[in-house]
């Protein structure tokens, strides 16, 4: 039977341990700040690699353009879609072949250079007005970076701690008391949840102040995304750590869980244009939903309705992972 007093007792003990562990504490704060500082420096400059150019109003790449080397062309049906990509720095230059017009993002040095390259081929073309607040790459990438930081803090914060408890016998001792697995698991989740949410909010506010990234949508909605995203990622970490007493094995499993998310969850680059099956796979990761939802709210001003799909996905994953963790949870070392 669930006893609130037992849950609170374990929660308090874990919170104390975390706040008193100065080294881990400062690392949890300093690392994300360093990461964001580094990123803002790197991305204020330029993007390496070739130019990505959108073609609107053509079924194939027009012959005069095809001859120009080192250009990656992407065909779009709708000019508005392509314009949005241009704003997000996902493409460098836009050519509407049928309307004889072109567009570039004035915040993009690559856009400027691309325009120079196409100058002779686009004789007589007229520029399209790009309206709205300019979006820098950093605006696009910030939700991903903050989400990734949250992910690491959730997965490793809860996973390693439990494996360490199991290995050193802390769990064995607790198991000899009336404490239930569910009470213990819930207390660990709650403790980490408050820590991660507090730190993430702090990092968000500090970064916002330092880089002044774009936030078009509601802050309340962003908080909801953070809460659910954090819950689902902590539960995932818990699930990975539900049995093992080997730090090496769990470290490996946590890496297996986190690296595909870093690559496929749209932290650094959009998966649009990637094969459809890969995009489907990406949907199984909580981070995908967290980052997509946050990005939609921050740079498109999306409402709750727009991101309801992601919210539901995160809630379902949280519930599922938590139930599996509580059922699979083992107090002792495996013989």
């Amino acid at each position: 039977m669930f006893k609130f007093a037992r849950f609170i007792a374990v929660l308090n003990a874990r919170n104390r341990e975390f706040w008193r562990d100065r080294a881990a504490m400062s690392w949890n704060l300093i690392f994300p700040l360093l990461l964001i500082l580094g990123l803002s420096l790197v991305f204020s400059d330029e993007n390496p690699a070739q130019y990505k150019v959108a073609i609107v109003g053509a079924t194939e790449i027009p012959e005069p353009l095809e001859k120009i080397k080192y250009i990656d062309y992407v065909l779009y049906d709708e000019q508005s879609n392509a314009l949005q990509k241009l704003q997000y720095h996902q493409i460098d230059f836009l050519i509407n072949w049928s309307a004889s017009s072109y567009a570039l993002n004035n915040n993009s040095p690559k856009g400027y250079l691309a325009a120079k390259i196409f100058e002779s081929s686009l004789h007589g073309f007229t520029p399209i007005e790009v309206s709205g607040r300019a979006i820098r790459y950093v605006d696009w990438v910030i939700p991903g970076v903050l989400g990734m930081n949250t992910m690491f803090s959730c997965l490793f914060g809860v996973g390693y701690v439990i494996v360490r408890y199991r290995k050193s016998g802390v769990l064995k001792r607790l198991n000899a008391t009336p404490l239930t697995a569910f009470e213990f698991v819930l207390a660990q989740v709650a403790s980490r949840f408050f820590i991660v949410v507090s730190i993430s909010v702090l990092v968000f506010l500090l970064t916002w102040w330092a880089i002044d990234f774009l936030v078009l949508g509601s802050l309340g909605l962003l908080l909801l995304i953070l809460l659910l995203g954090t819950l689902s990622l902590i539960s995932l970490g818990l699930m990975v750590a539900s049995k093992s007493s080997s730090e090496e094995l769990t470290g490996g499993l946590l890496n297996v869980a986190s690296w595909p998310m870093i690559i496929l969850s749209g932290v650094w680059f959009s998966l649009e244009g990637a094969p459809q099956w890969l995009q489907y796979i990406a949907q199984i990761f909580p981070l995908t939903h967290m980052v997509s939802a946050a990005r939609d709210v921050m740079i498109d001003g999306a409402t709750f309705r727009d991101i309801a799909y992601h919210i539901i996905a995160l809630a379902v994953m949280s519930g599922l992972f938590l139930i599996i963790s509580a059922l699979a949870f083992s107090w002792g070392k495996q013989r």
Binding site: A9, E17, D21, A176
Partner: protein, 294 residues
């Protein structure tokens, strides 16, 4: 006297290894019962099955004093051999944490004085000395006022003084009427604390009874140990049994003076001579033919 624990035909295998091989014994209420044996004998596995942490492959465990509606965790208190406490948590906080898990904080101040914890209540549990740590772990095992208390090698790794302090503490707990079950590989500890013992080797019970009874049963008087010399055996009564170990000859006798005189008169050197009352260590060596802590 009523029994506090009855164990019948307990059996546990880990893969090919038979850790506990059909062990049966019973423990009297208010007594201190010792499970003795070398490392790997099966003591801890036996204990963990009784504690409900490991389930036996076969056999029965009965707790006659367990009340209806009481959980096993409420009935027993455990001091584990290998256990860690959370880092960065103070002694007082650890006591509070565990008391809350049992929903009973009434015992804390009494246990602080019983286990002499008052001098380091505000210390991080990580920074405790071995003796302090064992006293805290014992207090944790007693927080919910259990009927049965398990002590799994409680003084392993402690210095001699801390061990003696711990024994005093265990005796005080015994005086409160608790039933204690102790595993140890220190024979002096078992002799000091236990009313009854079983000796386990390779998963089987090889002897059981009261320490004094067992010693009287296996030894007649005093043990003499002396540097081995060919002539000695012929000087002593023919029914004497000898044990030869690392150049030393060992035998028990009820006529110490006569035996020593015979050896001196034969002109044999008394080099390496030691005379002592037999203890459980001697019993163990006699029973198994090997040292307890090998």
């Amino acid at each position: 006297m009523t029994d506090a624990l009855i164990v019948h035909q307990l059996f546990k295998q880990y893969g090919q290894l038979t850790a506990v091989d059909n062990i049966s014994f019973s423990v009297k209420r208010g007594s201190c019962f010792g499970l003795l044996g070398p490392n790997g004998a099966g003591k801890t596995t036996t204990l963990e099955m009784i504690e409900g942490i490991v389930s036996p492959d076969s056999g029965d465990i009965d707790y006659p004093l367990l009340n209806k509606g009481q959980s096993l965790q409420q009935h027993i208190g455990i001091q584990f051999q290998e256990t860690a406490l959370q880092d960065h948590i103070k002694v007082k906080e650890t006591l509070n944490l565990f008391a809350n898990l049992y929903n009973d904080t009434s015992n804390i101040s009494e246990l602080i004085s019983l286990c002499s914890l008052q001098d380091f209540l505000d210390q991080d549990t990580k920074k405790l000395s071995g003796g302090q740590r064992q006293r805290l772990l014992l207090a944790l095992a007693l927080l919910h006022n259990p009927e049965l208390v398990f002590l799994d090698e409680p003084t392993t790794g402690l210095d001699p003084q801390s061990r003696r302090n711990f024994w005093t503490l265990v005796k005080r707990i015994k005086e409160q009427g608790k039933t204690l079950i102790l595993t140890t590989h220190y024979m002096d500890e078992a002799q000091q604390l236990c009313d009854e013992i079983v000796v386990i080797d390779r998963g089987k019970i090889i002897e059981q009874g009261k320490p004094e009874d067992l010693l009287n049963q296996h030894f007649s008087g005093t043990i003499i140990r002396i540097k081995n010399h060919n002539g000695i055996k012929g000087l002593l009564p023919s029914n004497t049994t000898f044990l030869e170990d690392q150049g030393l000859l060992e035998f028990s006798t009820s006529a110490v003076e006569d035996d020593i005189k015979s050896i001196v008169n034969a002109g044999i050197s008394l080099e390496g001579l030691s005379i002592h009352r037999p203890n459980l260590e001697d019993l163990f060596i006699k029973l198994t033919g090997h040292q307890l802590r090998s």
